[in-house]
Each structure stands twice: as structure tokens, then as C-alpha cells.
Symmetry: C2
Subunit: 224 residues, 2 copies
Amino acid sequence: MKRICVVEDEELVREELSSMLEKSGYIVSTVDSFDDVTSDILKSSPDLVLLDINLPNMSGFQICRELKNKSSVPVVILTSRDDLRDELNALELGADEFMTKPYRKERLLLRISNVLKRYEGRSNLIEGPGFLLDKLTYTLYIDGTSVILPKNQGKIIEVLLRKRGEEVSRQEISEEVWGTSEFIDENALQVNLTRLKKTMASLNMNCTVVAVRGKGYKIVELEE
Amino acid sequence: MKRICVVEDEELVREELSSMLEKSGYIVSTVDSFDDVTSDILKSSPDLVLLDINLPNMSGFQICRELKNKSSVPVVILTSRDDLRDELNALELGADEFMTKPYRKERLLLRISNVLKRYEGRSNLIEGPGFLLDKLTYTLYIDGTSVILPKNQGKIIEVLLRKRGEEVSRQEISEEVWGTSEFIDENALQVNLTRLKKTMASLNMNCTVVAVRGKGYKIVELEE
DNA sequence: AATTGAACTTACATCCGATGTAAGGAAACC
DNA sequence: GGTTTCCTTACATCGGATGTAAGTTCAATT
């Protein structure tokens, strides 16, 4: 059962969409206040967001951008204007589909199920500079190929990615890799870091891990 | 530089599409005979296929199906009829986009670049019933999670998937797993097959591997 | 239902990649 | 220059994946 969040201010349309989606077997949530929409949306942890462009307070584009920054949820955009610039805009912001009203029921449903299918298995991916990482398997996707990282290297790069760009203390890394209770073996950590750097280099990644003296480590992009 | 193969029988339209795509920085190939279209298309190893539905000899749908069976190239379908059934049909066959003529130039280009973007890093995935398999890492994507298969199990499931549904001889499987020159150890193969079945079951996959007495093995979907 | 070959199961041995350990070397900071 | 911090290398160990062996179940044929 997939969850869909409908973001639409006109109650009539919202009701219609909801009932249609529910009939098709989706679990539907909606947002009623439009103050802090993105958080509201993400609270229901939807598998997909159906987003109207013309909303009070904030433009749909803005919401789309925020959603894509904070999460990797797929977004389908609805609009009443058939404007190419809107579409261009939307897709550049990372929207996954773009439909103009009046929509045909079946077509909308089709597009939705299509987007969902496309996203299958992608919910565990986190994004790094120029690559994707699967948090479950530590599979690294980079320029059309994929490689599996050894568990420890995967854990390290994951914790570094979570604080993208900011430094992470050895302590934090150790906790991620071996669990908090254990004694922290500085050396083992060191060796694993070296190994990670080596694999990153051998993959020609455009980023690497650098030490911040006395503080910890961080990921930095490197320009050639 | 991405390569696009344009499949369209009307010369005028074909020319127009080609020049448009070339202006946008794509390398365009076309097919002139319509006898063995799919092989012709794949010979140019395109990054995307732009496919007209109404063609001599074979329907565009048929071509789409064959393309998707033999490869994982993305397909964008063009049609002059604005028929929802066509669209449904096309998307079920695995088409990635569907556009009705007359198309707006910019919109078509947008969709194409979008599909290409979507495929980045996905070229190693092959589709099975209810799951995806990364051919490089043997990572299995299934209901929103991912698991890494042991190499041998991965190789076996890969060769079975290539002939989706059809039986594959032990010989073929052995060649895939150990290479053709080696002596084929029936027993080792047997054990690995058992292991694969076990992992598939433990993942609650809706398909399994069955023996075809005297012939080999095949993947079948199982209804509960 | 007895036979027979095909298909399967289980337990154990081996191997190889991933990880940990140890000791010494380079770099940055004062 | 001395000290601290960070890094490198080689080797030992461990565990999951694979191979091996022996025996059991299944199903087609008579």
C-alpha cells in the first residue's frame, strides 16, 4: 500500500483527487494548513507527493524544491496553465511528472503508478557530490556503474554524507561503525579511513575525505 | 554526447526530428529498412530510442517490447493518435515516455533529456517479476529494500532473467557462472541453485526457480 | 508399486575478501 | 627541532561464499 500526499488548496479538487486515489488503493493524506507545508508533507512520510502549483503563501515550485532538498520523495505536479515554461521549471527543480488540468483520471493514475515504479528501491539512496549511495547495501552508483563498498567503508562514507561538508568527529564515526559502547580503537578507524580514501580515488570520484586537524574528518569536492 | 535512434517511416518527419535532435547536441541514427528493426536499432547502441507507433510490417508496440526484452534502452514513443489505451499499452510494455503529435519541439526535447537523466546510472539494472537486479553488483531491489546476492546466485538469476520465463539449460548456466572452458560440475550448480531458491524465498519474492525435467531451469511467478 | 535417473538436501572443508593489529614513517604545528 | 597528529604498510585473523561429498526425495515409466 503506497501513501500519497495531496497538496491542493481547493477543497473540491482535493476531495475528488483523494477519493479517486483511495479507490485505486492508495493511502491518501492531505495538508490543511499552508504555513509549514513541507514539514507537514514529510510528516506523513508519503511515497509520492501530488502537488498543485497555484497555492497560497508559497509557490508550488518552492515547495517542490524544498521537498527535494529535504528528502528524495517523488513529486508529481499538477497545474491549470499549460505553460511550457512551467513544465521546464518544474522538471529542473526535480519534479518527476508534470500534468496539466483538466487531467484524465486514468492518465493521472497511470503516471502516478509509473513514477512509483520508477522509484522502487530508490528510497535508500542518499546523494553525495557526483554519486549515490545505497544505505542498506553500501552500493555506490557513479557515472553509470556501481560498486559495492566494504561495510566499514560504507558506514564511514554514510556518516560523512549525513553531515555533508561538515566535519565529523572520530567519536561519531566510531559509533557509527562499531556501536557506541565499544572501546574506540583509533588505529582501526584510521586504517579504514585510509582504505576508504583509496577506493574513492581508484573510482575517480570527484570528492575525497580530508582530516580536520584535531577535529575529525569531512568530505570535500575536489576540482581538477 | 548521447546517441538517439529515430524510428519513423515518413521521411519528412524523420528528417525534421533528426535535425532538431542534432541541433540539440545529440548524435542521431535512423533505420531505413523495417525488416529486422530491433537488431538494426540496437546495432547503433543508442542511449535512447525515439519510436513512432505507426510503422509498416511491425507495430511500434511490438518493437518496443522486443527492445525492452533484448536491452534496457529507454524508449520514447511518438504517436499521432491521442488514445489513452495506446498510452496505457505503451507504458505497460515498458516505454518511458509517451508523446502525441503534434509535439512541441521544446517539450519533446525536455522529455528526452529528462528520460536520459533518469536513466543515468540505471543502465545496469534488469527487470524481473517484482524486482530489479543490478548486473554489476548483483544487488537486488525489492519492495523498497535492497540486498546483495552472492556472486554465483546473482549470475544464475541474471542468466535466467535474460530469457525471462523460458528455460535455460544447465550448460548455459554453468557457462555464465564458471566460464565456458571449465568442466561443468552438476553438483556445484545444483547446490548454488538451491541456495538461490532459498534466498528468493526468504526475501518473500513472488517468483522462484523451478526445474524443467531433463531441460534445465526457469523463473516462474508464483501466485499466493 | 518397483525401478531408475533426475533433482534435491545437508553437513562439512576450503578459500578469499574484509577487518583488525602492530609498528614505524610523514606532516603539521608550536 | 621536538611533539603531536595523522598516515602507511604488512601481516594475522575471521567469516561469508563457494566447493565437495554423500545420502535422500521426487516423479516418470513400466
